[in-house]
């Protein structure tokens, strides 16, 4: 306990304004976003982003904060969605009156109920056993969803109508912009709640159990109960995300609780960085952008996501947020500026190489999938003949020259990095 109070005290000692500032900024950002991206596509993407932010954060309560690798988190998301869409239909039928904007609560509750049921036996162990049980439960639910047609609606799913509830000050959520503000409100509240949860003793003990379950037991906490609490809370928030999904798309299908969705949330959280609270938010935002924007330009965007994911797992296990956080030391010493030039020197050739690789994949894909005889293709605004010799030379040159230049720039980047992260005292010694 003393450890907890010690680590917690500096945080409480910080001025209130400094603690609140990020949240005020977050609030303003949520309000301002639809004014910047007011198009339909923009709103659609941001709605999806908000839902995935909650979902990925709830997942990180397990993986990042509790050390539980789950392969079946979509179960709570999907069940929350189905429950919400059923309640939407009850409201439409006039069975009872309830404000539509609070519907995700029901999703959260069913997520919590299933979290309690499944958590009661799966949280006994972390690691592989937990992962396997979560996988089994996920497959079980996905298979059951095709059997129990009355609740899951079979292959075509269950659809509802979000505009039928009682109005809120004349707003019936018919337009996308209304649903955006609704989702934004839920995002703000749930993100704040999940952040606060990570600061409670329950959240802190989840970290302790993740790092060393045995020691946590000696302090007097049952590892199983600690995991159980995180698990239930995580199920609750995933259910809320599912409820918002139901409100936004007005349809929930079997796809929302199968292994693909479970894999997606793992991908989002891991690419963003599971070691940081903000990581899954970054991951969800980037993944949604990739999904909705990249998929407009290329058929093989999932291949890129797969490559990005495997590279992240191999070389940057702390995720994209981790890369940013690596710069805090240099930032504190006000030396980030000295890194810009080396980054540019290595980054521009690296970008050329990546463009070359992407062009290579795209051209191959075009050659294989296009109609017989059709050779003209367009890539990033450049039109060319995919079977021509020149195109291949350019692609090859991009990859080889870019790769060679990147490699040649790495030593200076490393040197600059070490310079920027050297403790101040040493730098003075070296300078004089």
């Amino acid at each position: 306990m003393s450890e907890i109070t010690k680590t917690a005290s500096p945080a409480t000692a910080r001025p209130l304004m400094k603690t609140l500032l990020p949240w005020i900024g977050f609030f303003i950002l949520l309000l301002a976003l639809p004014n910047i991206f007011s198009s339909n596509v923009g709103l659609y993407t941001m709605n999806l982003m908000g839902i995935f932010v909650i979902f990925a954060l709830s997942y990180n309560m397990l993986l990042g904060q509790g050390g539980m690798l789950s392969f079946g988190h979509a179960v709570y998301f999907g069940l929350g969605g189905f429950m919400s869409v059923h309640f939407m239909n009850y409201i439409e039928d006039g069975d009872f009156t309830f404000p539509m904007y609070l519907i995700p609560i029901f999703g959260g509750l069913i997520g919590l109920v299933f979290g309690i049921i499944i958590g009661s036996f799966s949280t006994r162990r972390a690691g592989t056993v937990f992962a396997m049980i979560s996988l089994g439960v996920g497959e079980l639910m996905a298979a059951s969803s095709l059997i129990f047609v009355a609740f899951f609606g079979g292959e075509e799913g269950v659809s509802g109508d979000r505009t039928t509830g009682p109005d809120l000050m004349g707003i019936n959520f018919g337009q996308d912009i209304h649903i955006y503000y609704l989702i934004a409100g839920w995002v703000f509240v749930t993100v704040a709640l999940m952040y606060l949860f990570s600061r409670t003793p329950a959240g802190r003990m989840a970290n302790a159990v993740r790092d060393n379950a045995e020691r946590a037991e000696f302090v007097g906490y049952s590892q199983r109960k600690v995991r159980f609490v995180s698990f239930c809370a995580s199920g609750f928030f995933a259910g809320i995300a599912g409820g918002l999904f139901a409100l936004n798309f007005e349809i929930v299908t079997e796809e929302n609780l199968n292994a693909l969705t479970s894999g997606t949330v793992l991908l989002m959280a891991y690419i963003g960085g599971v070691g940081f609270f903000i990581g899954p938010i970054v991951g969800a935002v980037i993944f949604t952008l990739l999904q909705s924007i990249l998929s407009n330009y290329t058929d093989i965007w999932q291949l890129y996501v797969g490559i990005l994911f495997v590279l992240t797992v191999m070389y940057v296990p702390q995720g994209l947020t981790g890369i940013f956080m690596m710069h805090t030391a240099a930032w504190r010493m006000r030396r980030v500026g000295s890194l810009i030039l080396p980054y540019l020197r290595a980054g521009i050739p690296a970008l050329a190489m990546l463009t070359g690789i992407a062009a290579f994949l795209e051209t191959i894909h075009h050659m294989r999938s296009s109609v017989e005889g059709e050779t003209a293709m367009s890539l990033m605004g450049v039109d060319f003949d995919s079977h021509s010799f020149v195109a291949w030379i350019v692609i090859l040159a991009l990859v080889v020259v870019g790769g060679y230049l990147t490699r040649s720039q790495l030593p200076q980047l490393k040197e600059a990095w070490e310079m920027a992260n050297k403790p101040p005292a040493q730098r003075e010694g070296a300078g004089s």
């Binding site: 993986l63 050390g67 690798l69 392969f71 036996f121 162990r125 690691g127 592989t128 056993v129 992962a131 396997m132 049980i133 996988l135 089994g136 439960v137 497959e139 079980l140 298979a143 059951s144 059997i147 129990f148 047609v149 009355a150 609740f151 292994a259 894999g263 793992l266 991908l267 891991y270 093989i300 999932q302 291949l303 797969g306 490559i307 994911f309 495997v310 797992v313 191999m314 296990p317 994949l361 191959i364 894909h365 294989r368 999938s369």
Partner: protein
Amino acid sequence: MLELIFFSLLNGVVTGLLLFMLASGLTLIFSMMGVLNFAHASFYMLGAYFAYTISIYLGFWVGLIVAPILVGLLGAVVERYGLRYVHRWGHVAELIFTFGLAFLIEEVVQFIWGKDTKAYHEPEILQFPLFTFFGQNFPAYKAFMLVISIGIFILLLLILTRSRVGLIIQAAIHKPNMTAMLGHNVPLVFMGVFGVGCALAGLAGVIAGPALGTFPGMAFVLGSIVFVIVVVGGLGSLTGAFVASLLIGLLQTFAIALDYSVNDLLQLFNISFDADSALRDLWTLSLPQIAPILPYLLLILILIFRPTGLFGNRET
């Protein structure tokens, strides 16, 4: 009824032995490195696709031999440069790595071979009914699958229990540090076992491709079932994997063949029910319907009540 049982039994054994070919490699890898290789079924898929491409140019029999070797080499490379590198980030990262690899391999397969089912067929020499029983044909290719699977099982058993290499592998499974102390190159053993395990999965793919279809989702279909077998059979136990494979194979074929529902059971006791209630799906539930969920139910029950698996002696 007799013919139904006979053919279900035969099909169950064929499926079970095919599953065993995948599970045997996976359980060895799992017990050695403690990592459940999510990409194992992806190597099975690669085996089928490699064999398909080879069979176009050189015929089925060349593919049968070359494709598993290629898959095995690929597996060894993955272990050497992927898994061993990720090992430094810990166990969870390794698990996530294999998961990502499975995702990536599926995408790569779609990229190279496309999304449609490939016309990968059994060789003509095996396209005849082996025997006819109660008017139902038993294809020769299934018998061929059976023979190959049994052959692999016996070979594996002999290598693991009778040869010096098998002795070292068994030692490395149980006490890797001590084996290394005795002067054996344990990382090399790991790489070899990983490669051979992948090659076995590839071989399973080669012979299953014509029977079960060669399409990008084939890894996903079988992937989680193989985990079930490894966990149910018990960690590092080949016997367990064998028994569990047959069990799952028979369970699935019999559940599909025997068309009984809860309704029939209730009528036995003269209980009727409201056909319109929300729980109506529960009452009309039939065995073929719940066939796909039976393995997972078994997995969860085993993990709760007997975490060591049927024949294992260590917890996962």
